[in-house]
């Protein structure tokens, strides 16, 4: 066989197997979690409070807790991140200061999540006096995903063609009108997609909420943003490391893991649907 063809064959082979390995890893994790978790999942599991010292009953408080924490993080980080991205790409003079801010944002994305947890403890729990609460945990998660949201939004803004901006400005639109009526509508899908993927990641984080929001067990559902909550990732951790009835706790942990993974995949699915819907509409 032609030597060039052999090389090509080997090259493609390597690339293809890399892709297959990635897929296999993903499916292995999903199968592993699903096979063990599915046994305990039923309606009661999703809608009941835990009973008998966490060895029976459901995980409703943890599901709700994760839900509230995520919502709180979104409400804080999405507007702030989008606004910051608009400022950085559209308004700020592109110079040294903006470059430094961008480097800062990128570095923020690389900070280990447990450090965010410590920061949240120091600032939101102690300094602001929010205590161990949904608010503290949500804000901490929000800061964790801010860099993702800012970067996704910046990229979405930058791919809006300059010709759209020129057309709008040349018609006598102000800069703000151009941004709000032309640039943002064309960037919103990219912003949302990137942001939602970031939010999916936040929903599964344990470390940032460890010191700021969660409790091992609460007898009641949270009543306000100042309540401490149970959350799925921490619930799994607690079930696996604490308590004295592993034979009863471990299946519940897998059940909770399956719920968490489904939740994250569900969030990602929303992002994909939004992206596809907008992609079909836009042709530039």
């Amino acid at each position: 066989m032609d030597i060039r063809k052999t090389k090509e064959f080997i090259g493609f082979g390597v690339l293809k197997s890399a892709a297959v390995i990635v897929l296999l890893a993903l499916f292995a994790i999903l199968y592993f979690v699903a096979a063990r978790g599915i046994k305990v999942i039923n309606w009661e599991f999703l809608t009941q409070m835990p009973r008998s010292g966490m060895t029976a009953g459901g995980i409703l408080p943890a599901i709700l807790g994760t839900f509230y924490l995520t919502i709180c993080a979104i409400c804080f980080a999405l507007p702030l991140g989008v606004a910051a991205a608009i400022y950085l790409t559209e308004y700020a003079k592109q110079g040294r200061l903006v470059r430094i801010i961008r480097i800062g944002i990128n570095n923020l994305a690389g900070v280990p999540s447990v450090v965010f947890g410590l920061f949240g403890l120091a600032v939101f729990v102690k300094f602001c006096g929010f205590g161990i609460s949904i608010l503290s945990g949500g804000l901490t998660l929000g800061i964790l995903i801010l860099p993702t949201i800012i970067r996704a939004s910046e990229e979405a803004l930058m791919v809006v063609p300059r010709s759209f901006r020129e057309a709008s400005l040349a018609l006598g639109a102000t800069k703000w009108q151009t941004i709000s009526k032309v640039v943002l509508p064309n960037a919103v899908s990219g912003m949302l997609t990137g942001s939602i993927l970031g939010i999916g990641r936040a929903a599964g984080e344990t470390a940032p909420i460890l010191f700021t929001a969660v409790t091992f067990y609460s007898a009641r559902l949270p009543r306000s943003v100042f309540s401490e909550v149970q959350a799925l990732p921490y619930h799994i951790y607690a079930l696996m490391t604490e308590g004295t009835h592993p034979e009863a706790q471990i299946p519940i942990a897998y059940g909770a893991a399956l719920v968490l993974v489904s939740l994250v995949l569900g969030i990602d699915l929303i992002a994909i649907i939004i992206r596809n819907r907008f992609r079909r509409r836009k042709k530039w």
Binding site: K93, Q94, P161, S163, F164, R165, E166, A167, S168, L169, A170, L171, G172, A173, T174, Q177, K181, V182, N186, R281, K282, K283, W284
Partner: protein, 272 residues
């Protein structure tokens, strides 16, 4: 031959060989434009007459786009651009401190090299300029849009599908839509920056015909790299090279008896 020399003058009071002085809408006075440290336009002065087509020709990179974009201050949005000199629109310098650039752009519309409709419906594209300026009333809006599309010779082709996406139109139709969009805000001057460079000959002919009609109502400045186009549609013609104004005169004169050798060389295709 006029105004190559930058003699000291009280602006607006020079005598002009080319123009009837009372019909001048735009006066460019000693205009210099820099990109960072590179000077793209050098000491250009010229007058643009009302209800006439003024063409700007010259080889690539001669500063013709930079010059035309200075007239509605579109260069403002490019970082690092510096402008010195004056552009008087009806006697008022548009680079004065107290000038609102938004007002200038309303009075001086622009059609770009590549058609750039918004990814919205045909109707919304033309309505955009009116809506941002707070145009009242649905009925009036529809009337104005119809009139603009008629003025841009596009109405008959799109009147039954105003709700369709502008991106479904052909290239030539898109460019005429951009013209309609520019006309809708009722500018006094319309700038065309190589409006036909991405179009086929048939679509080009339609735009040229349209520009001829538009000069009844508007003052028109067009940048073109196509000398035949300049000869066909313009009343006045400016020849620019390396940022300098080489010659400015009536189009007939430029294309029959140019006063500079280099102009003659360019229009006869000896370089460019």
């Amino acid at each position: 031959m006029v105004k190559l020399v930058h003699s000291p003058y009280p602006s607006g009071h020079r005598q002009s060989i080319v123009h009837n002085e009372t019909n001048i809408r735009i006066s460019i006075r000693d205009l210099n434009i820099w990109y960072a440290s590179a000077r793209a336009v050098k000491d250009v002065s010229l007058d643009i007459e009302k209800n006439k087509v003024t063409a700007i020709i010259g080889p690539s990179g001669c500063g013709k786009s930079t010059l035309i974009r200075a007239v509605n201050r579109m260069n403002d949005i490019i970082p690092g651009v510096k402008v010195k000199g004056e552009i008087l629109l009806d006697g008022k310098n548009i680079y004065d401190e107290d000038i609102d650039v938004v007002t200038i752009r309303k009075m001086v519309g622009m059609v770009f090299q590549r058609s750039n409709p918004f990814p919205k419906s045909i109707f919304e594209n033309v309505a955009y300029g009116l809506k941002i300026n707070g145009f009242p009333g649905k009925k009036k809006l529809a009337e104005r849009i119809e009139q603009s599309l008629k003025d841009a010779a596009l109405w008959d082709e799109v009147k039954d599908r105003l709700g369709d996406s502008a991106l479904d139109l052909s290239g030539g139709q898109q460019q005429r839509l951009c013209i309609a969009r520019a006309l809708a805000v009722e500018p006094e001057v319309v700038l065309f920056d190589e409006p036909c460079s991405a179009l086929d000959p048939v679509a080009t002919a339609r735009i040229e015909e349209l520009i001829q009609e538009l000069k009844e109502k508007y003052t028109i400045v067009i940048v073109t790299h196509n000398m035949q186009q300049a000869a066909r549609i313009s009343d006045f013609c400016t020849f620019l090279m390396l940022g300098e104004l080489i010659e400015f005169d009536k189009t007939d004169k430029i294309f029959t008896t140019p006063s500079k050798k280099v102009t003659e060389d360019y229009i006869t295709g000896r370089f460019g």
